[in-house]
Symmetry: C2
């Protein structure tokens, strides 16, 4: 017999579509009830348009937790004016069709008005870790991310929250916030999920034309090249960057940044003498893509 | 027989000195255990140097809650350089002597290093409500307050938190933050407690010389004058302000601000045709004092 604190069996969750909740009060009630029942609760914050990367987070949550909550909310405050908030893909029905078989118990899909009622003005600034790289290209982005994630952590007080490593700097931002504000939640960072040809899964890949989709492979290829150079003993960050730039240029891509940093930080590492994260951001056509990889 | 969710009897709490906790992990354990026992938990955030105003908050918490936690932490981030962080009165033993008989169950008294370990950079900005009045005189103050209160709310997840009305704008700042970040805590705002002669209780009153202590009475007197004018039918905010300024001038006090606002907001109200909060801030000697009062 399975105790109440153990994850539900696959058979059990596969048969039940997730309950969709839009009201915070209902969400709190459901979570309180599950908690009273001894369930460990996992939260997977998403903006919907789910792909295998998101589902890997749900799967990781399901391994650890009896109750898996996926939030689906395209958060306006993390988009700057002129970015793709309006175009961002939204398809709740398709998302729900994926989440049921993946083992998600509850879906929290609030409206913008529910999350940001009139008068809402509070923002969270995590400091230096939000300033460089993505923060330079998108100066208001991480305040929007930190604030909405904190709201979700309060609305859905889970034991653990699951984020993808593809958004490397975002994972550092959220980790900083959770530590600094003493949020009682465990962060679980899951590996990047890639298409068979190496492209990192992203909801924004849907924006790419066939020609752009092909050129976009250069991002991962440039990271693989860096990895190969490191494994052959290259330690010079400038040499690695130069080689990456050359490879990207072949696909007519000029990156917004190539960062070679000590893994788990944003500190530049040169020589590359320990675990390093190499991160790249670039526009392919009008679509902004990011990717990263760890070298040891 | 008393159920576990009822407040403890006076006899029960008077005999037990509060347990003093400095480690967050221990605090979480204790709160989780009390919660499992069905206790409602009240939090009274303070900076110590306790007076009857603080004790009225503990008393209010004890009326509602089986467990009352008082935090004692002189929060450096809400003091600007040159303010009185170093001089701020600290006397944990005296505070504990007051808290036991008042019915406080637990005291959380962390060190600055515990609350702000190296690398801590996250701050919370609640927007417009933090900008005027106190925010003009003390531009970094409310970010410090909001951030430490959020940290305390995460460290000591209470059902209700108790704050004094003396810090009127602070109550609006915290209310804004709690709403905007969906913090699952009830805020209880308690009335100002005054000395017999009308001076609002404040830990900073200890800074006043006998002569300053006497002049400081003009703050409350100016508020009482405003109240009398309103009760006699005066509706002109400018006339009320002028009369208050004249009365304060008699005690050689030039206020930093006199605010006449719709109660529960910082919106100026003129004519004074509904419940209004009248707030005053002034230095008496080197000591900065604030006070306020509601007129209807």
């Amino acid at each position: 017999m399975q105790g109440p604190e153990l994850p539900r069996s696959d058979a059990q969750h596969a048969m039940k579509p997730p309950e969709v909740i839009t009201a915070p009060a209902r969400l709190r009630e459901r979570i309180a009830a599950e908690r009273r029942g001894g369930q460990r609760i996992g939260l997977v914050p998403t903006m919907g348009a789910l792909h295998a990367g998101h589902l890997s987070l749900v799967d990781a949550a399901r391994q650890d937790c009896g109750v898996v909550i996926t939030s689906i909310f395209v958060n306006p405050t993390q988009f700057a004016p002129g970015e793709d908030f309006d175009q961002y893909p939204r398809n709740l029905d398709a998302d729900l069709g994926l989440l049921g078989p993946a083992g998600c118990t509850l879906v929290f899909a609030p409206s913008v008005e529910t999350m940001y009622p009139a008068g809402c003005e509070t923002t969270i600034d995590v400091g230096g870790v939000a300033r460089s790289l993505e923060g330079e290209s998108r100066p208001t982005h991480f305040a929007g991310v930190a604030t909405v994630v904190m709201k979700l952590f309060q609305l859905a007080p889970a034991d653990a929250a699951y984020f993808g490593r593809k958004d490397y700097q975002q994972t550092l931002v959220i980790d900083r916030m959770v530590r600094d504000l003493n949020v009682p939640i465990e962060l679980v960072i899951c590996p990047i999920v890639r298409e068979p040809d190496g492209l990192a899964m992203s909801s924004r890949n849907a924006y790419l034309s066939p020609e752009e989709r092909c050129r976009a492979l250069a991002l991962h290829a440039s990271l693989r090249l860096a990895e190969q150079m490191c494994s052959r003993g290259e330690r010079d960050a400038a040499a690695i960057r130069t080689a990456m730039l050359a490879l990207l240029a072949e696909s007519d891509i000029t990156p917004e940044y190539i960062a070679i940093v000590r893994d788990g930080t944003l500190e530049p590492i040169d020589p590359v003498d320990g675990p390093a994260a190499i991160a790249v951001a670039a526009r392919v056509g009008k679509t902004r893509l990011i990717d990263n990889l760890v070298v040891r």
